[in-house]
């Protein structure tokens, strides 16, 4: 009897593991998009193009290290090259999935390290059309997820924030069935009108990790868009824990920021 039960369980188990659920797809997608490798480095170039056509450039090196499993804690270290008034500034984030981040900024002109208040992850990142959440992820538990259809080798997932105080009512994500990266995202406002679109334009395989190296966020309300290019991307480069400290915030090591 026991033997039959085990066989039965063994047959059921893989089914349960491989059953496709919307939160499961989102989790897998976040794992690929934000948690690949033990650590990660990229030179990030952001071009913000406002409605009038005027362009602003933000250029930085981003370093990230994972602590614990997928959707666990992470530490980020950013060093700015451009624009001129933020050159040599560094920015450090300790990200926790279920509570507010710790954020520090270093201002070289007066050699000062400051903690900065960080309650709103929907805030714009350095004035771009991307938010902090777009850069470092959103807690899966904050939304209700459902698969609404499958098309072009993608799962199309609707994610609706559980609380009503968000600036969007829901988001549709097209997640590639093969590599689990988001190919496109559409944000709908309170009137259920499309107002923000994310697109992944170029994906490269780097050390076996599929990586979006060109992406754009377009805001249909303001008419601005931000194009982001990742260069010098690398994974598993052995970033030390000590990098994420006041010492190196003040004196960012050349070997990591170049």
């Amino acid at each position: 009897m026991l033997r039959y039960l085990i066989v039965l369980l063994a047959m059921l188990l893989p089914l349960k593991v491989f059953a496709i659920t919307a939160p499961g797809v989102i989790k897998k997608s976040q794992a690929v998009l934000l948690y690949s490798g033990k650590d990660f480095k990229a030179r990030v170039s952001m071009k913000i193009i406002i409605k009038s056509g005027q362009e602003r450039i933000r250029e930085l090196t981003m370093l990230r290290k994972n602590y614990g499993d997928v959707s666990g804690d992470q530490k980020y270290f950013m060093y700015f090259f451009q624009p001129a008034d933020v050159r040599n500034m560094t920015f450090m984030v300790y990200k926790y999935p279920t509570k507010d981040d710790d954020r520090w900024m270093f201002i070289p002109a007066i050699n000062m390290t400051r903690r900065i208040a960080a309650q709103d992850n929907r805030s714009s990142f350095v004035g771009s059309d991307f938010t902090y959440e777009d850069i470092s992820g959103r807690d899966i538990e904050n939304d209700d997820h459902s698969i609404i259809k499958e098309e072009n080798n993608c799962y199309v997932i609707k994610s609706a924030p559980k609380t009503g105080d968000m600036e969007y009512s829901y988001k549709l994500s097209w997640i590639d069935k093969t590599n689990f990266l988001p190919i496109k995202e559409e944000y709908y406002d309170k009137k259920n009108e499309l107002y923000k679109v994310f697109t992944a334009e170029e994906i490269k395989d780097i050390k076996g990790f599929p990586t979006i190296v060109k992406r754009t966020m377009t805001n249909l309300h303001t008419g601005s868009r931000t194009e982001v290019a990742f260069t010098k991307v690398d994974y598993n480069i052995g970033i030390e824990d000590s990098l994420f400290s006041e010492r190196f915030l003040k004196q960012p090591p050349k070997k990591w920021i170049e």
Binding site: I50, P83, A109, I110, A117, D120, S124, S242
Partner: protein, 417 residues
């Protein structure tokens, strides 16, 4: 050859040598800087009759070269000033870094910022330029570089900074030609400033130890040196004919904590100021020992809108001795001098437009300073700021009350490269 040329020549020669040496060793070299116009119009004319608190054009060059484990950094300014029509060259910072895995050393002129206060300083015992701050110069000019050696040590259990300053450098206060200020002895014009001599016994030492304690950034501080605000010593208390301005001995013992609390950032800082030349508090010419403390809270109310609140106090020890010994006719300070500050910052237009206001209001002295400012980044290279410094209060001798007639409107325009 005047001073500007000598300094400029010296810097040029040094920079050339560094360039040559570093180039031949294939180091990373970068040169950046800015050119800037900075004008501050006095709403009431200055004591000297002039209309501007500040009016200058300035160029800054930053030279940065590194080849592990060394780095050289030079930040030097050249300016042309219109109020007195003079040119000036200034080495703002210039130092050499050596970085090892568990320690580092910075030698030379450097800006050091400690403590948590927003424009309120307890454990930041390093020199400041209040003239720059009150004249509407960019914020970075509030801090003055000190010629010093700074040793950083980073064992696993905590981090340490040890600063040794061989030459005393005082704070810079507004000049009596440009600013209306209270003077307790206006009749005595024969004045002499005596800075502490450069000798081993007068070497200033500052130590900071810091680490994380349960998610809070915790620091302890120690300083042994001098007050950077001068005290006045009359040659004769009854019929003074000469005043000597000197810098009394000071030690500071302090601590600070900062972390996330109440959905914002909470800052706590305190320091005991030991007035070593007036331990009993009997000398009316030297400030008594004090305990200074600060509570700060910062919160992002919504996207791109941040508010910061501070409560700050200076508690005078041996107050009864102070009262007993204070000469007739001198203004009497309160036992507790406290004030509160509010800062509100709003970012707009992809964070290229910044509206900010900071206000200081002293509860004990009933005086205030308000500084609203609009800053706009026209391009990634060019920004401009317009702001106003507004002072006032009941008493003509209190910190901001004495500055009542010095309101000014300023413009800063900078091109960075």
């Amino acid at each position: 050859m005047d001073r500007i040329n000598i300094v400029a020549f010296f810097i040029f020669i040094l920079a050339s040598i560094f360039c040559f040496l570093l180039h031949s060793y294939a180091a990373d070299i970068s040169i950046h800087g800015f050119s800037q116009g900075n004008y501050s119009f006095s709403i009431s004319e200055n004591p000297s009759g002039k209309d501007f608190k500040w009016a200058e054009e300035r160029v800054q060059l930053k030279f940065d070269a590194s080849r592990d484990p060394f780095r050289i950094f030079i930040k030097t300014d050249g300016s042309f000033e219109h109020i007195e029509d003079k040119e000036d060259a200034e080495l703002r910072e210039g130092y050499v870094d050596y970085t090892a895995s568990k320690w580092d050393l910075r030698l030379g002129r450097q800006i050091i910022t400690w403590g948590l206060g927003d424009l309120l300083f307890i454990n930041d015992v390093f020199p400041k330029d209040y003239e720059a701050f009150f004249s509407g110069r960019p914020m970075e000019y509030l801090k003055i570089g000190v010629d010093s050696a700074k040793l950083g040590m980073y064992p696993n259990f905590a981090s340490f900074e040890l600063v040794v300053i061989p030459n005393f450098k005082p704070n810079n206060y507004p000049s009596s030609e440009r600013f209306w200020m209270y003077d307790p002895m206006p009749g005595i014009t024969n004045r002499e400033t005596k800075e502490p001599d450069t000798k081993l016994n007068n070497t200033e030492i500052a130590v900071r130890a810091y680490r994380d304690i349960k998610g809070f950034d915790a620091s302890i501080y120690f300083y042994h040196g001098f007050m950077r605000q001068p005290s006045m010593l009359p040659d004769n208390m009854m019929t003074p004919s000469k005043l000597t301005l000197f810098y009394p001995e000071l030690s500071v013992y302090g601590t600070s904590f900062q972390g996330r609390a109440f959905e914002g950032i909470l800052s706590l800082e305190a320091g005991y100021y030991d007035s070593r030349q007036d331990n009993a508090g009997k000398d009316p010419m030297i400030p008594n020992s004090q305990t200074k403390f600060l509570i700060g809270y910062q919160k992002q109310l919504w996207e791109d809108l941040t508010i910061g609140l501070q409560y700050y106090g200076e508690y005078m020890h041996d107050y009864s001795e102070y009262e007993k010994n204070l000469p007739q006719g001198f203004p009497k300070e309160n036992k507790l001098h406290d004030f509160s500050t509010i800062r509100i910052t709003r970012l707009l237009k992809n964070q290229t437009l910044k509206l900010s206001i900071i206000s200081f209001y002293s509860i004990s002295d009933k005086d205030y300073m308000i500084n609203p400012e609009i800053k706009y980044n026209f391009t990634d290279q060019v920004w401009g700021a317009i702001g106003e410094n507004i002072f006032g209060g009941d008493k003509n001798w209190s910190q901001f009350g004495q500055l009542d007639k010095n309101d000014n409107v300023y413009l800063q325009l900078r091109y960075e490269f």
